[in-house]
Amino acid sequence: MNAIGWPNWRRLNQEGIVFAIAILLFAAAALGLPGFLTADNLVAIVRSVSVLGILALGMAVVIIGRGIDLSAVAIMAMSVAWYLQLLNTGTSDGLAFAYVLAGVLAIGLLNGFLVAYADVPAIFVTLATGSFVFGYVRSQLITQDAVPVPQGHWVELLGGVRFLDIPVEVFVFAGLAFLVFLFLRYTKWGRFIYFAGDNPVAARNIGIPVRPMLVLRYALSAVVALIAGLLTAASLHSINTRVVNSTLLYDIVLVAVIGGIGLSGGRGGVRNVLVGAALIGILLNAMTIIDIPLLYQNLIKAAILLGAIIVDGIINPRDEQTAQQGDI
C-alpha cells in the first residue's frame, strides 16, 4: 500500500479528521438546524458544491503536479461570458464554441508554456493571466457585467435537466471525478504527475516529459474551468463576471487544501477533493441556514483557509533540498 498517491498514515489521519469533522458537522446541523436534513436541502448542498468541486478537481491535478492555477475562476467566468455574448450577437453556435474553446486552450497553453519553458513561478503566471483574461474580456469583448443565456439555447435547457430529481451538474461532477480518478490512478501520465510533483528534477532525470506534462495540466485545468462555467450559466441562466473578484477562487484552493492535497505537490487525489467539498458544502449550507451574512461567511472561510494552510505547512514542511530559491 505504499504506492505513490496512496495516502500514508499521517495523511490518512488528516483526511480522516477532516472527514470526521464533516460528519460531525453534518450530524450537528441535522440535529440543530430545522430543514437541514430534508431531501431538497441535501440535493441543494450537493448541487452547491458541484461547480466548486469540478473546479477543485482541475485545481487538484495542477496542485498535485506542484503548481497552482489562480486563473481558473477568471477563465471559467470570462470564457462563458464571451461565449454567451457571441451567441447574443448572432454568431452561430458551433463557431462561437470553437472560438471560446480555442481561447480557453490558448490561455491554458500560455500558462503551461510560461511555467514549463520560461520557468516563471506558476503563481505569478496564473495571477497575471487571470487578471489579463478578466480585463481583456470585460473591456474588449463584452459590454456589461452579467451576460444572459439566449432563450431556448442548450445551455439553458441543460440547467433544467433532472434525473431522479437530481440536477445534471451533480452527475457531471460525479462523472468528472470518476474520470480524473481513473486518469490519476490508472494511466501512465496520471502517475507521472505524482512523480513530477514530488520531485520535478528527479522526474526529469529519469526521462519523464516533465515540461509537456506541465503544459497539459494547465490546459486541462482551463478546460475543466470552461465546463464549470457552462454549468454555472446553465443553473443561473446567465453568467456574472463579478464572480472573478469574489472569493470563489480561494474556496477552490480551500477545498483542495482542506481535503488534504499538500501544496508541495505529489500527494492527494480525487478522494481528498470529495472530502474537502463535502466539508465546505455542509459548512456553507449551515451558515446560510443560520443566516450568517455573506461578509461574515468570507471572514470565517478565510480563517478556516488560514488554519488549513498552517496545518498543511506543519504536516508537509517544505523540503529544503527540492525547494528552489524564489519558490514563494
Partner: protein, 707 residues
C-alpha cells in the same frame, strides 16, 4: 595586406566591441530596462493625454503616487528578503479605517488616529511575519489568505460604520493640510514617500539590518550559515511592509476624509506589478528602492492614463496582467541568461598580423633552435608541487616557489628534498623577487603585490593603481599581476597582464589578443602605485638590466621583449629589443655571464597565427564551441632562451621529450645551476649549466655580497 584583411582590421580594431561586454558586467544595467520603460511610458502618456504635465494634474496624481510609492517601498523590501506581501491592500484599507474610526467616530486627535493606523499596520505585518518568518509558511498563499481575511474584516467594518463617519462633525487643520496642503509645492504624501525612500535606501545599502535582508533574499541557507537570524529578518520585512502600508492608509484617510469599499482595492496586484516591472527580482536579493519607485511611476501612469483616456472597466486588470506577465518573464529569463549573454559577448577579439618568425625547429640552424637539454634536468618536489610559476633562491641557497594552493613553499638546501610551507598567501603567487632586506616580494594572481618578510609576515603592498578616465570595467584593480623586479633604489616594477580577464582566464585573453597589459611601479617610500606603460598584449616577465638603469619586460601574445629606460636620455620610454620570436615569452631573469634568461611558455603555431588574422572566426569559435575545442596557443612545448643586452639571441634550451618541462614559465640561475619552473608543471627542474660561474647568485648580483 589584402583588402579583406584591411577591412577586418578596421572592423575589429576600431569598433569597440569589448565595451558591450564590459557594460553588461555592470550591475546598473539591470536598471536600464525599467528606466527605458519609465521614459517610454511617460513619453507616450504625456503626449497623448492633453495637460498630463500640468501642475494641477501632476499635483493630484503625485498625491496618489506618494501613497502608492509608500506601499511599493514596503513590498520592495519584502521581496528583497525573498518573500512577497499580497496583504498590502488589506493593511492599507484597515489602517485607513483605523484612522477614520479614531478620528471621526471616537473624535480623538489626529495624532492618535495616526498611532491607531500605525498600530494596525504593525500588528497585521507582525502576523504575516510570524506566519511566514517563524512558521515558514509559503509567503504567497499565506499573505493571500491574510489579504482575504483583512478584506472581509474591512468590508464588515465599513458597512457597519459608514453612516456614522458621514455624520461625524470632527475636523482638523492638520488633517486638511495632510490631505490637501502642499509644502514647497509638493504634497505631504510625496514628501513622506521621498523621505522613506531615502531612509530605506540608505538602510538597505549601508546598514547591517539592510544587508541582512539582502543576504537572506540572496540565499537563505547561506545567510543562515553565516549566522544571520533569518527568521527574524524575514519577520521584520513584513513588519516594515505593514508599517509602510499603514502610513499610506493614514494618508488616504486624510485625503478622502473617510474609508469606502474601494479603498485599497487591487492595490496588491498593482504594488506587485510595480515592484516587478521596476526590476525587483522575485525570490529576493536583487533590486532596490529606486527600482521599486520607477515601477510605481510606470504602473500608476499607465493605469491612471488609461482611465483618463476613457477605457472601460477591466482595462486596468488587462494592462496589469500583461505588465506582470511580461515583467516576471523578462526578470526570470534575464537573471537566468545574463551570464550566458555576458559569456557570449564578452570575448571581443581583435585583428593582429604576427611578423615573420625564425624557425625554432631542431635542426633548423637558427639561434632559436630547440634542443633536448632540459629533459636531462633533475627534479625537485616531483608530485608534491602544483604550479611553481616562478622559482627563486635566497642567500642561503634555499629554494622558494609559489603553488596553485595559495602558498609559498620553501625547499631546503643543499639537496632540496625537505620542504615546508613558507607562507600562506591565499592567492596564486606568480612572480617572485628578493629585496635588499631579504623580504620576498610576490605578484599574487588576482590579488596584487605582496611582501613576505623573513619572519614570514605577509603584507599587502599594492592592489590598485589610478583608474584611467575612459575605462568601463574598473581598471584600477590589479586583475593579473604577473611578475616583478626591484630597482637599486628599492622601487618595485611589476606587470599587470590584462585588464579584461582574471588570471586563470589567460587563455581567453590570448584568443582576444586585445592590448591591455600594463607596466606599473610601486614606490615603497610613499606606498604609491603608478602606471608607467599601458596597451601591451599581455605584459609578463620583468627583469632589471645588470646596470640597473633599464629593465626588460616581455609582451607574451606579441612575442616581443621591450626595454624600458629608468634613467639616461631615454628615461621613461620603451623600445622593442626582440621581436617576432617563435615562442611566447614569460619571465626574464639575469644570467651569470651578463646575459639574460627568458622562459617560453609556449610556441607559436601557423594555425594560431592565422586565426589572429581572423577575429570573426575566433569570435564564432568562443561562442559556438565548447572550451576544450578552442584553438589556443600551443603550450605543449616551451623552452629557455638566453639573450644579450642588445637583444641578440645567444642560445635556446628545450625539452623535446615533453616529459619534464614542456611549458616553462620561469628559470633562475644559482651557483652554476638553472632552476626551472612551469605554471602547469608538477616539479622544479635543476639543470647544470655548462661553463657557468659556480659562485654567482642572484641576490648577490642585485644587492651585493652578503653584508
Amino acid at each position: 595586406m589584402t583588402f579583406r584583411e584591411r577591412l577586418q582590421a578596421w572592423r575589429y580594431n576600431l569598433v569597440p566591441d569589448h565595451l558591450v561586454g564590459e557594460i553588461l558586467t555592470k550591475r546598473w544595467t539591470d536598471n536600464a530596462i525599467p528606466f527605458l520603460a519609465l521614459v517610454a511610458t511617460l513619453g507616450v502618456f504625456g503626449s497623448i493625454i492633453p495637460g498630463f504635465f500640468k501642475l494641477t494634474s501632476l499635483q493630484e496624481s503625485t498625491r496618489q503616487l506618494g501613497e502608492f510609492s509608500l506601499v511599493v517601498i514596503g513590498m520592495t523590501v519584502v521581496m528583497l528578503g525573498g518573500g512577497i506581501d499580497l496583504s498590502v491592500g488589506s493593511i492599507f484599507a484597515l489602517s485607513c479605517f483605523s484612522a477614520v474610526y479614531v478620528f471621526f467616530i471616537l473624535e480623538q486627535s489626529i495624532w492618535l488616529a495616526l498611532a491607531a493606523a500605525l498600530a494596525t499596520g504593525l500588528i497585521f505585518g507582525a502576523i504575516n511575519g510570524y506566519l511566514v518568518g517563524y512558521l515558514r509558511l509559503r509567503a504567497f498563499l499565506t499573505t493571500l489568505v491574510t489579504f482575504i481575511f483583512g478584506r472581509a474584516l474591512f468590508d464588515i467594518l465599513v458597512s457597519t460604520y459608514a453612516a456614522d463617519v458621514q455624520l461625524s462633525q470632527a475636523s482638523s487643520d492638520v488633517l486638511d493640510f495632510i490631505g490637501d496642503g502642499t509644502f514647497w509645492g509638493l504634497s505631504v504624501s510625496v514628501w513622506l514617500a521621498v523621505i522613506l525612500a531615502i531612509v530605506t535606501h540608505i538602510a538597505l545599502t549601508r546598514s547591517r539590518p539592510g544587508w541582512h535582508v539582502l543576504a537572506v533574499g540572496g540565499s537563505r541557507r547561506s545567510a543562515h550559515n553565516a549566522g544571520i537570524r533569518v527568521r527574524r529578518t524575514v519577520f521584520m520585512t513584513y513588519v516594515f511592509s505593514g508599517f509602510c502600508s499603514s502610513i499610506g492608509g493614514f494618508l488616504i484617510a486624510c485625503r478622502l476624509s473617510g474609508a469606502g469599499p474601494g479603498t485599497g482595492l487591487n492595490l496588491e496586484i498593482m504594488a506587485l506589478t510595480a515592484a516587478v516591472v521596476g526590476g525587483v527580482s522575485l525570490g529576493g536579493g536583487r533590486g532596490s528602492v529606486v527600482k521599486g519607485l520607477m515601477g510605481a511611476i510606470i504602473v500608476l501612469t499607465m493605469t491612471n492614463g488609461l482611465i483618463r483616456l476613457g477605457y472601460g472597466t477591466g482595462t486596468n486588470q488587462m494592462v496589469l496582467g500583461i505588465l506582470l506577465a511580461v515583467a516576471v518573464t523578462i526578470d526570470i529569463r534575464w537573471l537566468k541568461n545574463r551570464h550566458k549573454v555576458l559569456n557570449e559577448v564578452y570575448v571581443a577579439p581583435v585583428y593582429l598580423k604576427m611578423g615573420e618568425m625564425q624557425s625554432a625547429a631542431p635542426g633548423s640552424g637558427t639561434s632559436y633552435e630547440l634542443d633536448n637539454r632540459l629533459s636531462a634536468a633533475d627534479h625537485i618536489g616531483l608530485g608534491e608541487l602544483e604550479g611553481p610559476e616562478d622559482v627563486i633562491l635566497d642567500r642561503d641557497d634555499h629554494l622558494y616557489c609559489g603553488t596553485r594552493h595559495g602558498e609559498i613553499v620553501r625547499f631546503f638546501a643543499p639537496d632540496y628534498v625537505k620542504s615546508e610551507v613558507f607562507a600562506h598567501i591565499g592567492g596564486f603567487p606568480l612572480g617572485l623577487a628578493f629585496d635588499q632586506k631579504g623580504n620576498l616580494i610576490s605578484c599574487v594572481g588576482a590579488m596584487g603585490l605582496y611582501s613576505v618578510s623573513p619572519e614570514r609576515e605577509v603584507k599587502r603592498l599594492s592592489a590598485e593603481t589610478a583608474r584611467s578616465w575612459t575605462s568601463i570595467v574598473d581598471d584600477a584593480r590589479l586583475r593579473d599581476p604577473n611578475d616583478c623586479d626591484i630597482a637599486p633604489d628599492g622601487r618595485i616594477y611589476f606587470t599587470d597582464s590584462t585588464k579584461r580577464y582574471d588570471a586563470h582566464d589567460w587563455a581567453l585573453d590570448s584568443i582576444e589578443n586585445r592590448a591591455t597589459g600594463r607596466l606599473l611601479v610601486y614606490d615603497p617610500k610613499d606606498g604609491s602605485t603608478k602606471t608607467l606603460l599601458d596597451g601591451y598584449r599581455y605584459t609578463n616577465g620583468v627583469c632589471m638590466a645588470h646596470d640597473g638603469k633599464s629593465l626588460f619586460f616581455a609582451e607574451s601574445w606579441a612575442c616581443r621583449v621591450h626595454r624600458y629606460w629608468l634613467e639616461g636620455p631615454k628615461a621613461g620610454t620603451a623600445e622593442c629589443v626582440i621581436r617576432d620570436m617563435p615562442g611566447y615569452p614569460d619571465n626574464i631573469n639575469r644570467a651569470s655571464d651578463g646575459n639574460y634568461w627568458m622562459a617560453w611558455l609556449g610556441m607559436r603555431t601557423p594555425s594560431f597565427d592565422l586565426s589572429l588574422r581572423h577575429p570573426d572566426m575566433r569570435k564564432r569559435m568562443t561562442r559556438r564551441l565548447p572550451q576544450d575545442e578552442w584553438l589556443f596557443p600551443n603550450i605543449n612545448t616551451g623552452g629557455v632562451v638566453k639573450f644579450n643586452e642588445k637583444g641578440g639571441i645567444v642560445e635556446t634550451l628545450g625539452d623535446l621529450s615533453g616529459n619534464a618541462h614542456p611549458m616553462v614559465t620561469s628559470m633562475r640561475e644559482h651557483k652554476g645551476y638553472l632552476f626551472v619552473g612551469g605554471i602547469l608543471n608538477n616539479r622544479i627542474g635543476r639543470y647544470k649549466i655548462g661553463g657557468a660561474d659556480p659562485n654567482w647568485t642572484s641576490p648577490a648580483s642585485y644587492w651585493g655580497a652578503k653584508p
